[in-house]
Every structure is written in C-alpha cells, then in structure tokens.
C-alpha cells in the first residue's frame, strides 16, 4: 500500500524530470546556437586584437577586438573606448588598408609609439608590435589569414 502510494506520487516527479531535461536541452541548444553564430560572426569579421598590457583598470589584461576600421579614444563616439587622461577624445585609427595591411594613423597631435618609435602619421603594424596609445601599452595580435 505504502509502496503503491509512493509509486503513484512519484509518477509526476519522473514526468517533471524528463520535461525539465527536454526543455533544458531545447533551451540550451537554442541559446548555444544563437550565441555561437554571433560570436563566430564577430570572430570572422575581426582582423585581430589589441592585448592591453598596462592601462585603465577596466581594460587591463583584456583583449580588445579589432574590426576592419576602429577609432580609439576617450570619447563615447569612438569604437574602442579607453578612459585615460593621456588619450585624446579621438586618438587614433587602426584599419585594414586596400593591400590588407593593418595600419595605424595618428589623429591630430595624438601621442602614439610603435615599438618605442614615435608615430608621425601612418604606419603599418605587424603581429607582436608594442603600440603605446598615450600611456596605455598594448600588444597587437593579427589573425593568421590577415598576415598571409
């Protein structure tokens, strides 16, 4: 009698468990699929990234994705926001040119050095170059297909 009662009661528990597994599986599948599409889409359109070696706390140690054209500065209008007093409102531009080279251009009197050498106007950068944007020290990483 007692077993019967428990068994009849637990029928609903077993249905609940399998329902949770079904709903969980479908939900996780949809979430994973949409997230993967978004992330892989971003990764595909990315040309590389800037690894922040030293700089504002909020970006220290972070990898900042680089798209085909990226404005960097202190203002909210830019693509990559770096909150540091040594950085101008619109400091520089990192972009892929018509020869598929990754270039960095100074905007106005912005202070930029590449491997310790002051940037005068525009220069091509390569993987591993240390780029100092104001007081923010970054290392540039370029996607392999871009380097080819």
């Amino acid at each position: 009698m007692i077993y019967e009662a428990f068994s009849l009661a637990m029928r609903y528990w077993f249905v609940v468990v399998i329902f949770i597994i079904l709903v969980g599986s479908v939900g996780i599948s949809i979430k994973e699929y949409t997230q993967k599409r978004f992330v892989l889409g971003l990764a595909h359109s990315s040309i590389g990234y800037l690894k922040v070696i030293s700089g504002p706390e909020e970006v220290q140690g972070e990898n900042i994705q680089l798209m085909e054209k990226n404005t960097i500065g202190r203002s909210r209008r830019v693509d990559i926001l770096l909150r540091d007093k040594s950085i101008d409102k619109v400091h520089c531009l990192i972009y892929k040119d018509e020869n598929s080279d990754i270039c960095i251009s100074r905007i106005t009197d912005a202070d930029i050095t590449i491997n310790g050498i002051q940037l005068k106007d525009t220069a091509i950068v390569f993987a591993g170059d240390m780029v100092c944007i104001g007081n923010v020290v970054t290392e540039i990483h370029i996607k392999e297909e871009q380097e080819e």
Partner: protein, 416 residues
Amino acid sequence: MILERRGAGALITFTILFSISACTLLSFMDGGFDAAIFAFGIGLSLLILISYNLIAKVFRHIDRLTLVLCFFLASIGMVLLARLNFDTALRQALWFAIGLLVLVITVLVVRRAYDFGKLNYLFMAASFGLLAFAFLFADSIGGAKNWVNLGPISFQPSEISKVLFIIISAYFFAQKRHKIASITYALYVGACVILLVLSNDLGAVLLYAGTFLIVFFAGTGRTLLTLLGISVSAGGAIASYYVIPHVRTRVMIWRDPWSYYQNQGYQIVQGLMAIAAGGAFGAGLGLGYPQAIPVNTSDYIFAVICEEFGIIFGIITILLYLVFIVRGLIIARSATNRFDALLVFGATCMLSLQSFIIIAGVIKLIPLTGITLPFISAGGSSLIACLCQVGIIEGVAVKNGQRDEKQITDAGGEVI
C-alpha cells in the same frame, strides 16, 4: 568576445536524481528493502557522474548536451531493466561502462583521423565478413539469424557491421567518384542487403537501406536517383512480401493482430494494451504488468516505458531522440570537411531511423521488426554500437570545437 557553454551540468544532475530516485523506489518494490537495487542506483549515478565529468574534462570541446541526452536515455533503460530483471540490468550497466570506453576510443580516433583512406576497403571486407558469419553461423531467434553465440558471450555481427557501414559510406560519398570505386561500393551495399535479407534480419535491412538512401542523397544531391532508389527499395519490400513467408506473417499480424492474439499477434496486442493501461502518467514504477509483454527488455521496452511512466513520458522520450538528432545534424553542418559531415550525418541518420523503426513498430504504425531502441533496450552489441556512433558524432564535434576556438582566440576571444 566570450563563448560560454553552460547548462549541461544541471541536466546531468537531473539525470542522476532520476536514477537515484527510481532505483530507491524500486528497492522497496517487493515489500522489504532490496539493497542490491539501491546500490545499483547509487553505482549507476556515480558511473554517470564520474564518466561525464572525466569525458568533459579530457575532451574540452565535446558536445556535452548530446552526452547528457545519451546518459539520460541509458539511465531510463537501466532503471526499467532493474525493474524487469536485475541480472539483465547489471549486465547492461557493465556493457554501458565498456561502451563508454569504446566511445572515448572512437572520439580519439575520429578526432585525429581524416577519412581512413584505403583502410575503407578493409572495413568493407570486415563488414561483409561479419554479415556472412552471421548468415552462416548465427542462431535463428524470432525468425531472424542475427545472434552469434561464442560460449558465455553472444553478439550481433550486424551491429558492428553497421558502424563500419557508416564510415565506408561517408568515405565513398566524400571523395571524387571514380567508376571502379563507385561500382565496388554499390556491390558492397547490395551484398550487405542480400545477406541481411537471407538472414531474415529485416529490421537491419530497413536500417541499412534507409541510411544508404539518406546518405546517398546528402552526399550526391541527386534527387532522381534517390527517388529511383526508394522505388527499388519499395519494390523489394513488396517482392519480399510475396517471396519471404516471414515478411508475409509480420505484415499479416500488423494489419490485424487481434485475430492472431493467441499466437503471433500476442506481443503486439500486449504492447498496445500496456501503452493504453499506462494512461497519461503511467501505472507507476513497479505497478504495471510488463511481464505480460514478450521481449519486454529489448524490442518492446518502449511499451514498458509507456505503461510504467505514462504516455507523456513516452512522447517526451521520442522528443529527446529528436533533440539528439537535431544536435547531430547541427554538428554535421558545422563539420570542417565533407567526410566528417557525412560521417556524423550517417551516424545520426542511423540512430534516428533505428529509433523510428522500433517505436513505430511498437505502436503499430509499421510492421514490427526486431531491432533495439537506442541506449534503452537491453543488449550489449546494440549499446556498444550506439555509443560508438555517439563517439563518431562527438569526435567530429571536438574537431569543430577546436576549429571554432582557434577562430575565436585568434580574434582575441575566449571559450569557457
């Protein structure tokens, strides 16, 4: 840019809760406390917990959700087997543990291999040899010659052969087609089907033929030829009705099992009555009469699921198979090369066809064939073959994951 893979851990927790709660309930089924069943439940839960975590840790990019679904379906099977026959449940758990090793080895092989190249001809010979061995030496059980007894162990050669069939089919459809290779492959498929027909293993015939046609269409895109293949298969099925008495009997019983209730129709009728008796939520675990259903641990385990756990549980089980299949197809679509895509597609198709054929047979949608319900039915050969197919799917998932992670990390992102 972070790709998070979360959630599967919660589902494995529910799988373990299901196993423990079901086995704890069953341990009180006969009045007293059966420590063996309780220990079985704990042991099964530990096996699932440890193996899931180990596999997920060793293979970072494994498709965890596919693994969870596979574990949950296997735990449903083992709980029901513990209810029906404890010795069978113990054997199934042992085969499950062995099958997990096979899964890991398969993942390792598929992850590293390309398409096995000329080895496929050896696989062809082995596959044909296994089916020929079954035809010549297998015992006839239920009219079909598909079980080979080797002392204490008996196995189904067609189960091992079908895994090789998937690999061979993927190889031949992935390459540029040379005439001799195409003819060799066509002869191999024809020979396999003929051997299976001669062995009266009609479920396997449906499985091999169905998988071949689907993979053929996926590999070649030739609609007309596929339709021709379907027509030929249908013609073969109709011809077999007139030529093979076993087929005629099966169709006759399927059309009106009630008229043959006292003999050949007994199994189908008992199965249908069991499904109806269960109702929406089931009779209760341990409260049904599954012992009235012949072959209740293998072919008719779906009827036992519906009787004890209910029709809602049965429908959700079918939906879980569907989710499993969809995930397999997504993995196939994301594969890095044609061979991997067709390999996963073939494995997924075979598992889906197998599930459909047996469930449809149990609910009298199609004539019954003697094949097992993947992961759930008792049977070491079947369970190992299914886990091997999961290993194939997971091996390609790992390759896909490694490629995706490289793309994401090259762009400065992270996969956690």
